[in-house]
């Protein structure tokens, strides 16, 4: 692909690089952006930033959800290293005491997580579903929808949290990943994603073509009455596009010091979006370059993934601390399920319950109930809490009423997040 050979310089490398990740938003059509009533006059993100403080501190809180796609093995994350049964069931893949940080009660955090451990990490144990399923797609769908029972919703759990907390900001929630993010589908709050293709000549204000293109787009995004609802959906998508382009054009530069991994670049972008003052409350980060579906080669792959996770989080948590946001940026992991307790030939098949990690304003250490290694369901762990309780804990901290987000009252975990 060549650029047009005419016209002023296009967006520089930093802007192009910054557009990475958001391939297509979790937001569905209807989740769309408000149609611009008067053309391209998107409000300034800086002005939105000033408004935040009038609502009170809870409105400053930001949730960063990191999705460990493929099914993260809880027993290799929070390791029952001193439980004999664990050794029996994992003859080659059991992790020994030298490779863990002892958290007490025969359990220890994997040593590759020592960076986040030093900064304070809370581990919630035994999360899953009462009647689990072993399919990625089914369990991902349940996590995304916030329904451990598999009941279907046409919105995502994070999208509904956005609906509950959003004000008049341009974006409530952003998903930073090339994969689908049904978790961000909202009813009314604006949620979206960015891509790496640059703004191109139609949207880059440095381009000669932009002015006329923008005027033309202003006509397209006000379609008037249309018989086909999809026509309105396209107009909404184009309207949101114009606003997103403006946000991208005004983002602060990336901070130095992050590792050179795709995942670290994702977190660096989260930081830039936080620093932009656009008021985004929720970030969904499907961890890039990391597959946790370790049917094979678990012993080599899993520690490498934890190491990548730990290195990037150290940079991010330190940066949040240094800009004074350490107290109101909460990082939380999710994964569709854990893995089978017994190993197959060198790997671990799909399982059930697993643990989640929380970083930022948290009470470090173990929380929740560990699943039994003795009492298994067909070789799988039995969850000690359904995952919507964990999700409700995150939603509630962010200022959402769980009753608005969940159809049932899942309760919350107390004393894990510093309120």
């Amino acid at each position: 692909m060549t650029l047009d050979g005419v016209g002023p310089p296009r967006s520089g490398p930093s802007r192009r690089e910054l557009l990475r990740w958001l391939a297509y938003g979790g937001a569905g059509v209807a989740a769309g952006f408000p149609l611009l009533a008067c053309g391209s006059g998107a409000s300034s993100p800086a002005a939105d930033g000033a408004r935040r403080h009038t609502i009170g501190p809870v409105a400053d809180r930001v949730l960063v959800v990191i999705e460990l796609d493929g099914g993260n093995d809880g027993l290799s994350t929070l390791v029952p290293f001193d439980v004999g049964r664990y050794r029996d069931l994992r003859p080659t893949l059991a992790i020994g005491s030298n490779d863990v940080i002892d958290l007490g009660g025969a359990y220890g955090l994997h040593r590759k997580l020592s960076g986040v451990h030093r900064r304070g990490v809370a581990v919630i144990e035994g999360l899953g579903a009462r009647q689990p399923d072993l399919s990625h797609f089914e369990m991902s769908a349940r996590w995304w929808s916030g329904r451990p029972d598999g009941g279907r919703t046409d919105t995502g759990f994070l999208g509904r949290v956005c609906d509950a907390v959003h004000g008049d900001e341009l974006l409530s929630g952003v998903s930073l990943g090339g994969g689908p993010s049904p978790v961000m589908v909202s009813r009314k709050a604006p949620t979206a994603g960015l891509s790496d293709l640059g703004l191109g000549s139609l949207l880059d204000p440095n381009s000669d073509l932009e002015l006329v293109a923008r005027r033309s787009l202003d006509r397209l995004i006000r379609p008037g009455p249309a018989g086909n609802p999809l026509t309105l959906a396209v107009a909404a998508g184009l309207g949101g596009m114009v606003e997103l382009a403006h946000l991208v054009n005004t983002l602060p530069e990336p901070s130095p010091g992050y590792p050179e991994t795709e995942f670290a670049t994702q977190l660096a972008l989260v930081s830039r979006l936080i620093r932009s003052g656009a008021g985004i409350r929720i970030f969904h980060v499907p961890m890039a370059g990391a597959g946790f579906d370790t049917h094979e080669g678990h012993g080599d792959t899993h520690p490498r993934l934890l190491e990548m996770f730990d290195a990037a989080l150290q940079s991010f948590l330190d940066e949040m601390e240094s800009i004074g946001r350490g107290g109101d940026v909460l990082v939380a992991t999710t994964s569709e399920f854990g893995r089978r307790v017994s190993e197959n030939s060198g790997g671990l098949d799909h399982g059930t319950a697993s643990c989640a990690l929380l970083m930022g304003p948290v009470v470090p250490g173990r929380h929740g109930e560990p699943p039994s290694l003795r009492d298994l369901d067909d070789g799988n762990l039995i969850a000690t809490a359904e995952f919507d309780r964990y999700q409700a804990t995150l939603a509630s901290w962010l200022g959402a009423d769980p009753a608005e987000v969940f159809e049932r009252d899942p309760g919350v975990f107390d004393d894990i997040i510093v309120d």
Binding site: M1, L19, S195, S201, V212, R215, L220, T231, G237
Partner: protein
């Protein structure tokens, strides 16, 4: 629907969009166009290198996955592409495989298999894909052994490829895994092989039958009452744009089985039905559909496209987000999707731009090239503004063409 609107609709669904014709050339009649596109088998299979080379040290022409994507996108944009190539694409979105995990050389062989069976027998296609090398690698069938069978492949065969959720139990998944254990990629001999030591010596219960071999497994799946409906419904949705009614679904499934699982016969049944012409612009174009149709309309050679840019739009062939394939519908119209599309088309160099900008009625030329015969008022106003507010032919042409492919009329299939 006018003949011109019908021609665009039919070409969108049975190929990858209409190819530009001169303003004065009348559109083909719908019946003739349907006949024409349905008669087209997949274009000749001509990979850029020796895909039967030994597994080790294969030439880069067949191990570089961006070559595969480029080759495939160009086929889609070929003026002679029709239902055969359309169904090749469909089968890839159905039997997804990713070269993030599987080898590209094996993906080429899989694609040849799909090419061969795209309009043939679904039973045969399923049978060969179950022991396909790329598929075995992608879903961990490769190396699964009888003592500890890997359930991944067995589960996806049922959940995603054949009967759908609810049609089977965990015991079936486990039994399938045991039946499929022992298949592996023999890298030294460069073949997919079965370790006969691991073949069952007795049948195990699977979907209500006893099954011992892969052939038994396929027979049991095809004997499952949900299988024909699952596949027929999906193809109906792809070609018609909406789900079939319950009665129609049952009819199609019955005819599908009666016709010996002939894909060509099923497609014919779906497309010859009046409902085929009743739902134009009822679904968004996916990223691949949009890129290919935009390239056709704007005269862009897809060989010049960086294939990886498609992953920014969330749809790079042979790189699905997961084994369920690409999610359909609404997300192809999101703000971020349009940001990506505008970024992509905003950087395309368009050789035809200046010429279209110099014509007496550039708006009509842009619409004609893009197969839009029924533009709505917003689109007309947006394009006329470009024609009026630009000073030179090139600027007028590039903005006009780029905006035209972002309009609702072009975004929908």
């Amino acid at each position: 629907m006018t003949d011109a609107a019908a021609a665009t609709h039919i070409s969108n669904r049975l190929a990858f969009g209409p190819h530009p014709r001169a303003v004065e050339t009348p559109p083909p009649g719908p019946a003739a166009l349907v006949d024409e596109l349905l008669s087209r088998a997949p274009l000749a299979f001509d990979p850029p290198g020796d895909i039967d080379h030994g597994f080790e040290h294969a030439p880069e022409s067949v191990t570089d996955d961006s070559r595969l994507v480029r080759w495939w996108l160009q086929r889609m944009a070929d003026p002679d592409a029709g239902i055969g190539d359309r169904m090749m694409w469909f089968w890839h979105t159905h039997f997804t495989t990713s070269t993030d995990k599987a080898s590209t050389q094996l993906a080429w062989r899989q694609l040849r298999t799909i090419h061969r069976h795209a309009l043939g027998s679904f039973a045969e296609l399923l049978r060969v894909l179950i022991t396909d090398g790329a598929m075995l690698q992608y879903l961990d069938g490769d190396g699964s052994d009888a003592a500890h069978p890997n359930e991944n492949f067995s589960r996806e065969v049922l959940e995603l490829f054949t009967v759908g959720r609810g049609g089977y139990g965990e015991a079936d998944v486990r039994a399938g895994a045991r039946i499929l254990a022992g298949w592996y990629i023999d890298w030294e001999r460069s073949e997919v092989a079965q370790n006969l030591d691991q073949e069952l010596t007795f049948g195990v219960p699977y979907l209500g039958r006893l099954a011992r071999t892969v052939d038994d497994l396929v027979a049991a799946i095809l004997g499952h009452p949900a299988a024909a409906r699952f596949v027929a419904d999906k193809i109906h949705c792809e070609l018609v744009g909406v789900d079939p009614t319950d009665q129609r679904s049952q009819e199609l499934a019955t005819e599908f089985v009666a016709a010996g699982w002939s894909i060509a016969a099923l497609v014919e049944q779906i497309v010859r039905h009046p409902s085929f012409l009743e739902h134009p612009r009822s679904r968004p174009k996916s990223a691949v559909e949009w890129v290919v149709s935009a390239a056709i309309s704007l005269g862009l050679d897809l060989d010049d496209l960086d294939p990886w840019s498609l992953s920014e739009l969330g749809q790079l062939p042979y790189h699905p987000p997961n084994v369920a394939g690409w999610p359909d519908r609404a997300r192809w119209l999101s703000a971020s999707q349009y940001l990506g599309r505008a970024g992509m088309v905003g950087n395309w160099e368009l050789d035809i731009a200046e010429k279209t900008g110099s014509t007496a009625d550039p708006v009509a030329v842009w619409l004609q090239r893009c197969g839009i015969s029924d533009a709505g008022p917003a689109t007309l106003e947006a394009l006329r503004l470009i024609a009026e507010q630009t000073d030179d032919d090139w600027t007028r042409g590039v903005i006009g063409l780029r905006i035209t492919v972002l309009t609702p009329e072009f975004s929908l299939s």
